[in-house]
Symmetry: C2
Subunit: 274 residues, 2 copies
């Protein structure tokens, strides 16, 4: 059973606030139940959200924790005046000191607080996703020069999810190539990758973990056997070392951590963007 | 030229804080340059980050704005005592009132503040991505019953990016099916979708916008012509109306907004998870 209900009330999607609130809660021993209430952009919807929160307060006998990212003053006012939860105003808390520092009033533009897509940015992101899908798993050698990053590693080392995350979150065009037994026999990188050396980044993984991932897909196959996984990982790491490719083990890392490390190593300028 | 530099200093990836800080800045008339400094988890790295921030303060003659999400007290201490930027402590600001409300001290567990992958959650997310890739663009009718959501719409209406976002962000298994001229001639949904009616959600798009997106790919084709786009969109909307499928126009919406609306309509329980 959860020990505390956490609400996220937003006039946008509330996705960022939810990720943030959920990360904050990991610092405590409570077992949170997270409830996101998006698109609360009128006083009516605010009253509805407050009713839901106050109902929870009543049946649980504990104050729900309520993260709000509400730009519209009237909507925030409804929540502040009648909500029986513990309010944490993620918008107002930071906007007021920012107004002082920047010497201007904030615009209180509703909707702009959510992860808005501006046309050019949105288009680039779509292009990046299309490129990345077309270049998944070594499917295409076309326009490899157009890639921002090319990931290499054995099958199931995490290349595809990492590539897609880099495309969706950062608008990067990412290729990825599996390293396969033929490459190990030739003791060389796939030939199409040679001109792209500077863009290459390697992913590796603990052989035991790899074996268990592969076993989910093809139980009891040679492909999934610990012995074969050990062999492939050792060969892949040796090849990356010989070729001077930077690499990282994905075994205990989240996609966000892997992606951020790749940016640091291959595209540090993308950490300071705009 | 940017008018203010915004730093995000985190002992994790800082991705959530960056999204949050960047959303806050859209409320002001400044043109921000965002610099993310991830993995600042030692006093040494904190000193390095502070040097970079103070250097910027000096050459720009303006206080940089510094969002920190640092769990480790010693690291935060270094930043607080020597940073010449305007500090906005996203961790401490909320942790202190939470400690009072929850009646316990926070654990100050470094690393837990970032978007950590717990094993089961991580595995589900991988499975969702694999499922979604295998079921992109009507590629496979296998195990459609296993889908959480199935998107339908004309080619280039936003199905693929939305599907991938739902998989990566929420761990949903998403199928997507193009509605094509053959479906319009038969005046019926693709037959494989009939048993999955409850999981269907439609995406539509303004024909002018669709035409310009398609023209990027296949300039001056019949496929991209405004006339054809008008026809396909009208047919698709008529079919969704006849079939009682809920739908939404993607024309002016971000992926996050589209995804959140789909959750509200098809899987409302996923907004209150854990």
């Amino acid at each position: 059973m959860h020990t505390r209900t956490i609400f996220v009330v937003s006039d946008g999607t509330g996705i960022t606030a939810e990720t943030f609130g959920s990360a904050l809660m990991t610092q405590f021993n409570v077992k949170p139940r997270l409830v996101r209430i998006p698109f609360v952009d009128t006083a009516d919807k605010a009253h509805q959200a407050v009713r839901q929160i106050n109902h929870t307060a009543e049946i649980e006998g504990k104050k729900p924790i309520v993260f709000t990212t509400v730009v519209h003053p009237e909507v925030q006012q409804v929540i502040q005046s009648s909500c029986k939860g513990m309010l944490l105003d993620m918008f107002g808390t930071f906007v007021q000191p920012l107004e002082d520092e920047l010497g201007e009033k904030s615009m209180h533009r509703v909707g702009r607080f959510s992860d808005v897509s501006h046309s050019k940015e949105y288009f680039d992101r779509m292009e990046a996703i299309n490129y990345t899908l077309a270049h998944d798993d070594g499917q295409s050698n076309r326009d490899l020069a157009g890639a921002d990053v090319i990931l290499v590693g054995v099958s199931r080392s995490g290349k595809t999810p990492t590539s897609l995350y880099l495309a969706m979150q950062f608008g990067l065009k990412v290729g990825n190539y599996p390293l396969i037994p033929e490459d190990f026999d030739r003791r060389q990188l796939p030939p199409a990758l040679e001109p792209q050396r500077k863009k290459l980044f390697g992913l590796t993984i603990d052989p035991g973990r790899l074996s268990s991932i592969r076993n989910e897909r093809r139980p009891d196959s040679k492909y999934a056997s610990l012995e074969n996984c050990r062999h492939e990982v050792a060969e892949a790491e040796a090849m990356m070392r010989r070729s001077g490719i930077k690499w990282l083990s994905t075994t205990t890392k989240s996609i966000e951590e892997i992606a951020t490390t790749i940016l640091q190593e291959v595209l540090p300028e993308r950490l300071g963007h705009y």
